[in-house]
């Protein structure tokens, strides 16, 4: 069976490759180095990653989930051992030589990015508009049978007003939060709000951002949580620390 080389991350050559972490489809994770850089790789079956098969797999949500989690697991492990630049999912090469060539060709960019991101980590912050509140607002107006058309319209208007107020409030809070965190972080990325269907918790994601913070800034975590708790009627979800995914390509 022909194997391809799947690359998870790029590190400095002196960073030990992650141990005891399974690669995609259980492949053994190791490092391929060229000069001062190393690629964290594992071998994957060609039949799974060759063009058409890969495309079909990526549309299979269960396969996508398993692969994404394995990818993230290896990147995390590599990052725990030293600075690691996460590569986008499904970056594969025909042979080890291809991996070395890739390291060689982009050596200057990789080195610059590693220098910039060394000792930094990423925090994810998402603000959710409380759905219960919205639902309560809806219920108020639908619980009582509207007596006539006019009171029905009035009730609908009040309902919309409540929803608009909540939206304005969540926007103002998010702006304040971002402004505070902007001063507390080295770099920021405002991301697209996540779709509700993919979110784990309740509420609608109205703000989504990532912040790059020095790993030794021990106060950041607590400050972030303090800010999150001060959210009026909003839910703030904090994720991380992550390897600097959102800042690796800048």
């Amino acid at each position: 069976m022909t194997e391809l080389w799947y690359v998870y991350a790029v590190t400095r050559a002196d960073t030990p490759p992650p141990k005891d972490v399974p690669g995609i489809v259980g492949g053994e994770v190791r490092a391929v180095s060229d000069g001062a850089l190393a690629a964290v790789v594992s071998q994957v079956p060609e039949e799974d990653f060759e063009g058409a098969a890969l495309h079909a797999h990526l549309e299979d949500f269960r396969w996508l989930e398993a692969t994404a989690r394995a990818h993230q697991g290896v990147v995390d492990a590599a990052f725990a051992a030293g600075c690691a630049l996460p590569l986008r999912l499904a970056t594969v090469y025909r042979d080890e030589e291809g991996v070395r060539r890739m390291l060689h060709t982009s050596a200057a960019e990789f080195t610059r990015a590693l220098d910039r991101l060394d000792g930094r980590l990423e925090w994810g912050v998402k603000v959710y508009l409380d759905e219960e509140e919205e639902a309560a607002a809806r219920k108020d107006t639908t619980a009582a049978e509207p007596a006539d058309g006019r009171s029905y319209l009035r009730a609908r208007l009040a309902q919309r007003q409540t929803r608009d107020d909540a939206k304005t409030r969540s926007r103002a809070f998010s702006e304040r939060l971002h402004e505070t965190l902007r001063h507390r972080s080295e770099a920021q990325r405002v991301l697209r709000p996540q779709d509700q269907q993919l979110a784990a918790g309740p509420g609608r994601n109205v703000f989504n951002a990532a912040y790059l913070v020095p790993a030794d800034d021990k106060a950041f975590d607590a400050e972030l949580r303090g800010l999150a708790d001060s959210a009026p009627g909003l839910r703030v979800e904090i994720t991380g620390p992550w390897p600097p995914y959102s800042f690796a390509d800048a």
Binding site: G51, A52, Q72, D76, P86, L89, V92, R94, L121, A248
Partner: protein, 110 residues
């Protein structure tokens, strides 16, 4: 060189228990983009996969909302409204079928 102590403590939030949406957001959308020997347009994939799920979800949701709507607001539970919802559901289902039957083009570099 930095050591494993760079992370103050093990972090469960980005481990295997992490929210899939957060992981997908990062591994599909972020990270270094380098042309491998086999190329696939992940932007298409992401949109396709997530859209597919959204369409499936929106069919269920439209039905749910339709039922709630009629129950809570008898003034608006006309047959016309119901027919409109049914047509919308059919349209969404058709769209879903189109997504399933139209594999996006895969670019190969080899």
């Amino acid at each position: 060189m930095t050591s494993a102590s760079r992370l103050p403590e093990p972090y469960p939030s980005s481990g295997s228990g992490s929210n899939l949406a957060d992981i997908l957001e990062r591994v599909l959308d972020k990270g270094v983009v380098i042309a491998g020997d086999i190329q696939v347009n992940l932007l298409d994939i992401e949109l396709l996969t997530i859209k597919l799920r959204l369409i499936v979800a929106s069919i269920d949701k439209a039905k749910e909302m339709g039922i709630d709507w009629w129950e809570d607001d008898p003034a608006l539970s006309s047959g016309a409204r119901r027919r409109e919802m049914a047509a919308e559901n059919r349209r969404l289902k058709l769209q879903l079928e189109q997504y399933e039957n139209e594999p996006e083009e895969v670019r190969r570099d080899d």
